[in-house]
């Protein structure tokens, strides 16, 4: 029983670790898409931030400088995206995709030019990374049944950015639903003409949304290279930006359901790492291929059967022009 509990807690702790970049990126997408800008560029921004954070942390030996660099670069890229699709009414998906492609090449080229390690940055020493934090009492409670594993394995012992990601969810919900900024943001994504009539600049609102999204995406990138990993590695975002976007749609552009979708994807990923080559009672050893397909099968099943219709913000993907 204790063993089962410990395994379950380890599984859930892995879910949190794997889910963190998804949650941050999905929330980034939420801000941007709620304002009416399709954010296909999450992947590229995350990758660029991962590179900037790893490079800055390697140069200065400080994880905080790395995080700042990651956030700044991610915001800068969001501004380029905004310039193309808000100021100049370019196609949001096309410009976002262009950024993704550009950044895959640019990050590894810069890494190769600067560090000559084949598109990697040097491995970071512990001091230049976000290290696991042991919360108070985690040692004292280890032996206590139920509460012990819950506190020591699941809740304590993650790095700071994991907690940031979790706290970002209620914060996002508050900002979106309970503040004036949030109301305007949602309005701009549903009916920009009404917002414009009320004397609020649609472009300024969308730029602000992109800045918030850029910052969150920057944290996600820094997490990959300076908290979860210890260096930037070429294409290390490995599709997490797109997965986050899927989770956002899955969660119908709402913070809490989006969080659950991210955790579900992460759980499936954590589960497949642990189910491989394990003999299940009554089933025997399940082939690796089936286990690895599990997250995708789960996604298709849930999207097809249980979620219902996902309704996007009305004005999403449409550049705003006053004359029409």
């Amino acid at each position: 029983m204790d063993d089962t509990m410990a395994t379950a807690m380890a599984l859930l702790a892995a879910t949190l670790r794997l889910g963190t970049p998804l949650i941050l990126a999905a929330l980034a997408g939420l801000f941007s898409e709620r304002s009416g800008v399709v954010d296909i560029g999450l992947e590229g921004k995350m990758l660029a931030a991962a590179f900037a954070a790893a490079a800055a942390a390697a140069e200065t030996g400080s994880a905080w400088v790395g995080l700042t660099a990651g956030i700044s670069v991610s915001i800068a890229i969001a501004m380029v995206h905004g310039y193309a699709c808000i100021t100049h009414n370019g196609n949001q998906v096309v410009s976002g995709t262009a950024l993704n492609i550009l950044l895959v090449g640019l990050t590894s080229t810069l890494a190769q030019a600067w560090y000559r390690q084949g598109g990697q940055t040097p491995a970071l020493p512990d001091g230049a990374r976000f290290r696991p934090i042991a919360l108070p009492l985690s040692d004292a409670l280890v032996g206590v049944p139920i509460v012990g594993p819950l506190w020591s394995t699941l809740i304590s012992g993650h790095n700071l950015l994991v907690y940031v990601a979790i706290l970002a969810v209620p914060l996002t919900a508050f900002v979106i639903y309970r503040t004036r900024f949030g109301l305007r943001l949602r309005a701009v994504g549903e009916n920009p003409y009404a917002v414009d009539t009320a004397g609020i600049s649609v472009a300024a609102m969308r730029y602000q949304a992109l800045i918030v999204g850029g910052a969150l995406c920057g944290i996600a990138g820094a997490y990959l290279s300076t908290a979860q990993g210890a260096a930037f590695i070429r294409e290390m975002s490995a599709g997490k930006g797109f997965l986050a976007l899927a989770a956002l749609i899955f969660g119908k552009w709402r913070p809490l359901p989006t969080l659950l979708a991210c955790l579900l994807f992460a759980f499936a990923d954590a589960l497949q790492a642990r189910l491989q080559s394990v003999s299940l009672p009554g089933v025997g050893v399940v082939p690796v291929q089936l286990i690895q397909a599990l997250p995708y099968i789960l996604t298709v099943l849930l999207l097809a059967g249980f979620v219902g219709k996902a309704i996007a913000p009305k004005a999403i993907g449409i550049p705003y022009t006053k004359e029409k």
């Binding site: 410990a6 395994t7 380890a10 892995a14 670790r17 794997l18 390690q117 084949g118 598109g119 990697q120 491995a123 990959l224 979860q228 990993g229 210890a230 260096a231 590695i233 070429r234 294409e235 290390m236 490995a238 990923d269 954590a270 790492a273 642990r274 491989q276 080559s277 690796v288 291929q289 690895q292």
Partner: protein, 334 residues
């Protein structure tokens, strides 16, 4: 180094004219630059491709001939990459990695006068030399070391892409561990089923953590760049890790127990040097323990982790494998 060779001549299926050309290379110097195509993961993966890179660099240093190179970043580039290299009339084109087999089959037919060396798979053609390794033998030895170092009698294996080649590492490792302790438990994980599995350190780290949670205290990763995440996770948990292909002991001294070395560098260097000297031959080279093509790494970074007793037992097993007294299963054997 002794070379076990099966030439086309021996197989007796090639046309006489071609066989004469293939079996006996023209013994004249060729100072054209050689060419090499690295595979996904990149030439600085600190593992398989980097070993190939080291071999090419050594050739360049010693001969002062600059080699041509291409680094595949997308599976669809392999064929065009090989073709572009072949077009520049190099002394030899080295294709690093099993995935080059199909593209090489096409391109080697288009350029019958160019020599090709394929590493990690076999392609029978008059102008192709194949170099394969007996990775199961080297993996057997590091499996023994893992079992001797383990206190929990549980050890782990993490593979990259799930392919027969990696299964070969896994089987040899598991047999080696069981040779030391018949009751040992060996966990086995594969990172993925696509080439991106060679470059996913975050998943590698997660797999390592899951094995450690199940009690493993030594983990062997045969996963290219993904291994970096495995070694990092082992270091953070204070468990032992075993490197692969290149000597990776230096990555985390103290927790890197040893590395299973695969002398891809020697294969590449030999191909380039022999092509230059005119002694390059087609056919298949099989490099195992006997040929020093595989082995385990002992250097200043892991000296303190390997006891004299461990060293003696591993070296005895190596001799026994060479002498045929121990047979290690090769899951890819046809």
């Amino acid at each position: 180094m002794t070379i076990k060779r099966r030439t086309f001549l021996g197989a007796g299926i090639a046309l006489p004219g071609l066989a004469a050309f293939g079996g006996r290379a023209l013994a004249q110097q060729n100072n054209q630059p050689p060419a090499i195509q690295f595979d996904m993961g990149g030439k600085f993966d600190r593992s398989f491709n980097q070993a190939a890179y080291d071999g090419a660099e050594r050739f360049q240093r010693e001969s002062s001939i600059r080699y041509l190179e291409f680094e595949v970043t997308n599976p669809t580039q392999r064929e065009q990459g090989l073709r572009n290299l072949a077009r520049r009339n190099p002394s030899v084109v080295v294709g690093v990695g099993f995935a080059n087999r199909s593209p090489l089959e096409v391109v080697s037919r288009e350029f019958p006068q160019i020599k090709f060396t394929l590493i990690d798979d076999v392609l029978d053609a008059a102008n192709v030399q194949s170099v394969v390794f007996r990775e199961h033998e080297g993996s057997f030895l590091v499996g023994m070391i893992a079992a001797m170092a383990s206190r929990t009698a549980k050890v782990g294996f993490i593979g990259g892409m799930d392919i027969p080649l990696i299964r070969k590492f896994a089987r040899g490792y598991s047999e080696g561990a069981k040779h030391v302790n018949a009751n040992i438990e060996v966990f086995e994980n594969m990172t993925g089923t696509t080439p991106s599995a060679w470059n996913d350190p975050s998943r590698g780290g997660e797999l390592a953590r899951s094995q450690i949670a199940r009690g493993a205290d030594v983990i062997y990763a045969a996963a290219g760049g993904t291994g970096i995440g495995v070694y990092q996770a082992c270091r953070e948990a204070g468990k032992y890790a075993i490197g692969v292909d290149s000597n990776q002991n230096h990555l985390h001294p103290g927790t890197m127990l040893t590395s299973m070395i695969k002398r891809v560098d020697v294969a590449v260097y030999d191909a380039m040097t022999s092509a230059r000297a005119g002694t390059w031959r087609n056919g298949t080279r099989v490099l195992g323990l006997r040929e020093n093509g595989v082995g385990w790494a002992l250097d200043e970074h892991n000296r303190s982790l390997i006891t004299a007793d461990m060293e003696r037992r591993v070296n005895e097993a190596r001799d026994a494998i060479i002498a045929g007294r121990i047979t290690v299963t090769d899951v890819t054997a046809r």
